[in-house]
C-alpha cells in the first residue's frame, strides 16, 4: 500500500529528488491523473472562451469563491483521508459559525473569531466522537447532525438574519490585500498547514493509516477514536474560519449562507481523485479542486446558464473521476 505521505528513502548524494521522479509520463497517463488533468484543460478552455472571465473583478470573485470552498475542502480532506468518508453538513456548520461570529462581534472581533472557530470545532468534534468511539456511520450521522443544526439555528435566530453591531471592525476580512482577497491568503495558509499536517506530522501519517485500514491501525495501537475526533474537529475549525469570512463579507448572517457549500466542498475533494474510502489524499489537491469548482461557477454565471448547469456539470465530473479512480484501482489489483 503506498501512501502520499511516506518520505523518500535515503539516496546517495548527487541523485535527483524523488519528488520529480514521481512525475513520470506513465503516472500522468493513468486514469486517476489523466481525467482530472483533462477536466482541468476543459475548464481552462471554457474560461478562456468566456467573455469577461479574465477581468480583475471576476478573477477576484473566483479567488474569493475558491477560498471559501477551498478552506472547507481542505478540512473535509482530513475527514475523508482518516476513513470517515464525508461530512454532509459542513455547509450548515459554516452558516452557524457565521451567525455566531456576527452575533458575538459585540464582544470584539478577536473574541468573535475565537468563538466561531471553537463552535465549529465543537459541533464537528462531537460528530467525530460519535463516529470515532462508537463507529457510527459518518454519512448518516452528519446528515442527522445537519438537520438538527438547522432546527437549532432556526430556533435561536427565529428565522431572521443577524446583523453586526455598528462599531464592530471586521471589514479588513472582507477586503483585499495587494489586490487579492484577504480570504485567499487565509485559504493558502490553511491549505499549506493542513498539507504539512498530512505529510510531515505523525498525526497525518496516523490519519492515513487509520483511513487505509482501521483494524490494522487498532492492532498497531493507534488512537483511532482520537484521530477521528481530531480530523472532524479540524474540519470544524475550517468551517468556523469560512463562517467568519462569510459573516464579515455579507455583513449579516442567516441560514441561507450555507448555500451549496456542503456539496461544493465534497465535489472539490472528490473531483481531484481523493479516495473516498480513505488512506490517501492531499489538502493541496483538494484546494486545486476548489479552484476548479469556482471556475465552473464563474463560467456558468458569465454565460448566464442556470445554477442547475453548474450542479449537473459537477455531478458528471464526480462520476467520471470516481469511476476512473476505481478502474485504476482494479487494474492495479489485477496485475
Amino acid at each position: 500500500m503506498s501512501l502520499d505521505t511516506t518520505s523518500a528513502p535515503a539516496r546517495p548524494s548527487g541523485e535527483p529528488a524523488t519528488v520529480l521522479a514521481r512525475f513520470s509520463l506513465a503516472s500522468l497517463l493513468q486514469p486517476s491523473t489523466l481525467f482530472p488533468a483533462l477536466i482541468g484543460i476543459v475548464l481552462l478552455i471554457a474560461a478562456v472562451t468566456t467573455t469577461g472571465f479574465w477581468s480583475t473583478t471576476n478573477i477576484r470573485s473566483v479567488l474569493f469563491g475558491a477560498a471559501l470552498v477551498g478552506i472547507l475542502a481542505c478540512g473535509l480532506t482530513l475527514i475523508t483521508v482518516s476513513g470517515n468518508v464525508l461530512s454532509m453538513s459542513l455547509g450548515i456548520t459554516t452558516a452557524a459559525c457565521a451567525i455566531a461570529f456576527v452575533y458575538f462581534l459585540r464582544l470584539g472581533t478577536p473574541a468573535a473569531i475565537v468563538i466561531s472557530l471553537a463552535l465549529g470545532a465543537a459541533i464537528c468534534g462531537v460528530q467525530g466522537l460519535i463516529a470515532g468511539v462508537y463507529g457510527a456511520n459518518p454519512i448518516i450521522l452528519t446528515i442527522g447532525a445537519g438537520v438538527a443544526q438547522t432546527g437549532v439555528v432556526e430556533w435561536l435566530t427565529r428565522g431572521e438574519s443577524i446583523t453586526p453591531p455598528a462599531h464592530a471592525s471586521y471589514s479588513f476580512m472582507a477586503g483585499t490585500v495587494a489586490g487579492i482577497p484577504f480570504a485567499a491568503y487565509v485559504f493558502v495558509v490553511v491549505a499549506i498547514v493542513l498539507e504539512l499536517l498530512l505529510r510531515r506530522t505523525a498525526l497525518g501519517r496516523e490519519m492515513c493509516l487509520t483511513g487505509a485500514n482501521k483494524q490494522a491501525a487498532r492492532a498497531a495501537a493507534l488512537p483511532v477514536a482520537g484521530i477521528t475526533i481530531v480530523a472532524f474537529a479540524v474540519a470544524g475549525l475550517c468551517a468556523g474560519a469560512t463562517g467568519v469570512l462569510l459573516g464579515a463579507t455579507n455583513e449579516s448572517a442567516g441560514l441561507a449562507l450555507q448555500a451549496n457549500y456542503t456539496f461544493d466542498a465534497i465535489t472539490a475533494v472528490l473531483i481531484v481523485g481523493t479516495v473516498i474510502t480513505g488512506g490517501r489524499g492531499s489538502a493541496i489537491r483538494s484546494a486545486v479542486g476548489a479552484i476548479g469548482i469556482a471556475v465552473i461557477a464563474s463560467v456558468v454565471q458569465l454565460r448566464e446558464y442556470s445554477f442547475g448547469v453548474q450542479v449537473a456539470v459537477e455531478g458528471v465530473f464526480v462520476l467520471v473521476i470516481v469511476i476512473a479512480a476505481q478502474i485504476r484501482r482494479r487494474s492495479v489489483a489485477n496485475r
Binding site: 462508537y134 442527522g144 438537520v147 430556533w155 450542479v311 455531478g315
Partner: protein, 351 residues
C-alpha cells in the same frame, strides 16, 4: 477486546434491528397521551394526515431502506423523487398515466445506470449515488428553470387525496399497495433471502450462487422506480413540483428505515418493517403538529433522532455506559434463569 465485551457485542447483534411494531405502538401512544398534557386534539383527520405523510415519503423510505438492506445507501433517492414529480407535472397534463410512466421510466434508467456502475466496478454506493444526486439535482433545476412548476389539473390531486374509508386516500392506498407487492415478492420468492444475503455477506452469497450483481442492479432500479413514482404522485397531489426537495425526504427515509428494523450494515429488515418505520415517524410528526410545536422542533427532533438511531445501530455502541449496564443486567437475568433451570432439572440454556 475482553470476553465481556465480546459477549456484549454478540448480544447486541442478536437484538439488533429495532422491533418496528413496538416502536409504532410507542409513537401511537405518544400521539394519544402527549396532547392530554401539552394541549391539542387528536381526531380521525389526524390518522388521515399520518397516512398522507406516509404516502408522501413512504416511497423514498422504501427506496432508501431497500438499498440499506443490501448494505448500500442511495443518496440520490430523494432527488429522483423530486425529478419524478417534475416530470409528471410537466408531461402529465394531458395524460396522468403517461406523466407517471415517464417518471417511472427515468427513475428506472437512473437506478439501472447507478446499479450497473456499482455492480460492474464493485464500487460503493457513496461516490456513485453522490454523483447521481448532483446530476439529478442539476437536471431538475435546469428542467424546472429553477422555479416551482405548477400543474394545472387540480382535479387529479383532489381525486387522489379524497378520503376513502375516512382515513385513507387513493394515493395512500397505492403506496400501501406498492409496499405490499414488494413485501410479497420478498416473502414468497427467493428475492427476500437473496437480498438479505447480499446485504449480510456479499462474498458468501456469491459463493452460494446468489446472483449478487443482478440483485444489486435490481434493487437500485427498484429504488429509482419507486422513488420516481412516489414523486409523481406527490406532484399530482400538490399540483406543483419544486426545483430542489432538500434533505428532508432523505432524512425521513433514513430514520423510517432504521426505525423499521433495517440496519446500516445491511442484511436485515424488509418492506413491512420500513412501512412501520415510516408510519412511526409520520405519527411523531403529527404529534408535534397536534401539540402546536413550532416548525423548528420537527427539525431538531428528527435530526437528533437520526443521530441517536445511528448511534444505537453503531457497531461499538456497547461501549456506552448505559448500554453496558443494560446488557450486564440482561446477562445477569440469563445467568439467573440458567441456574434456576439447573436447580429444577430442566435443560440448560432454556429460559
Amino acid at each position: 477486546m475482553s470476553r465481556i465485551g465480546k459477549q456484549m457485542k454478540r448480544s447486541l447483534r442478536a437484538h439488533h434491528g429495532a422491533h418496528p411494531i413496538v416502536i409504532l405502538a410507542v409513537m401511537v401512544a405518544s400521539l394519544l397521551v402527549l396532547p392530554l398534557f401539552l394541549g391539542g386534539q387528536v381526531n380521525g383527520y389526524g390518522v388521515y394526515a399520518i397516512l398522507q405523510t406516509f404516502a408522501d415519503y413512504g416511497p423514498i423510505a422504501l427506496a432508501v431502506g431497500m438499498s440499506m438492506i443490501i448494505a448500500e445507501y442511495d443518496l440520490s433517492a430523494a432527488v429522483v423523487y423530486g425529478l419524478g414529480a417534475l416530470l409528471a407535472v410537466k408531461l402529465g397534463v394531458h395524460s396522468v398515466v403517461l406523466g407517471a410512466l415517464i417518471a417511472v421510466a427515468v427513475g428506472l434508467v437512473g437506478g439501472l445506470l447507478q446499479g450497473a456502475i456499482m455492480a460492474r466496478l464493485s464500487m460503493s454506493s457513496v461516490g456513485v449515488t453522490l454523483g447521481g444526486l448532483l446530476t439529478y439535482t442539476g437536471i431538475t433545476e435546469i428542467y424546472s428553470n429553477n422555479k416551482t412548476v405548477p400543474y394545472p389539473r387540480f382535479d387529479v390531486g383532489l381525486r387522489l387525496d379524497a378520503r376513502v374509508l375516512s382515513i385513507f386516500s387513493i394515493r395512500s392506498l397505492i403506496v400501501i399497495g406498492i409496499f405490499g407487492v414488494v413485501a410479497a415478492a420478498m416473502h414468497f420468492t427467493r428475492l427476500g433471502p437473496e437480498v438479505r444475503g447480499v446485504g449480510g455477506d456479499r462474498r458468501s452469497s456469491l459463493i452460494a450462487g446468489v446472483p449478487v450483481k443482478r440483485t444489486l442492479v435490481g434493487i437500485m432500479a427498484l429504488g429509482g422506480m419507486v422513488a420516481a413514482f412516489g414523486g409523481a404522485l406527490d406532484g399530482y397531489s400538490v399540483a406543483s413540483a419544486v426545483p430542489n426537495v432538500g434533505f428532508e425526504p432523505l432524512v425521513f427515509a433514513t430514520i423510517a428505515a432504521v426505525l423499521g428494523g433495517v440496519t446500516l450494515s445491511g442484511g436485515r429488515g424488509g418492506p413491512v418493517g420500513i412501512a412501520c418505520g415510516a408510519l412511526s415517524l409520520a405519527t411523531l410528526e403529527e404529534t408535534l403538529i397536534v401539540i402546536n410545536a413550532p416548525p423548528y422542533v420537527s427539525s431538531v427532533v428528527t435530526g437528533i433522532l437520526l443521530v441517536l438511531v445511528t448511534l444505537a445501530t453503531a457497531p461499538e455502541v456497547w461501549k456506552l455506559p448505559i448500554v453496558r449496564t443494560l446488557l450486564r443486567w440482561r446477562g445477569m437475568r440469563a445467568q439467573a434463569g440458567a441456574l434456576r433451570a439447573q436447580a429444577i432439572g430442566e435443560a440448560p440454556g432454556k429460559q
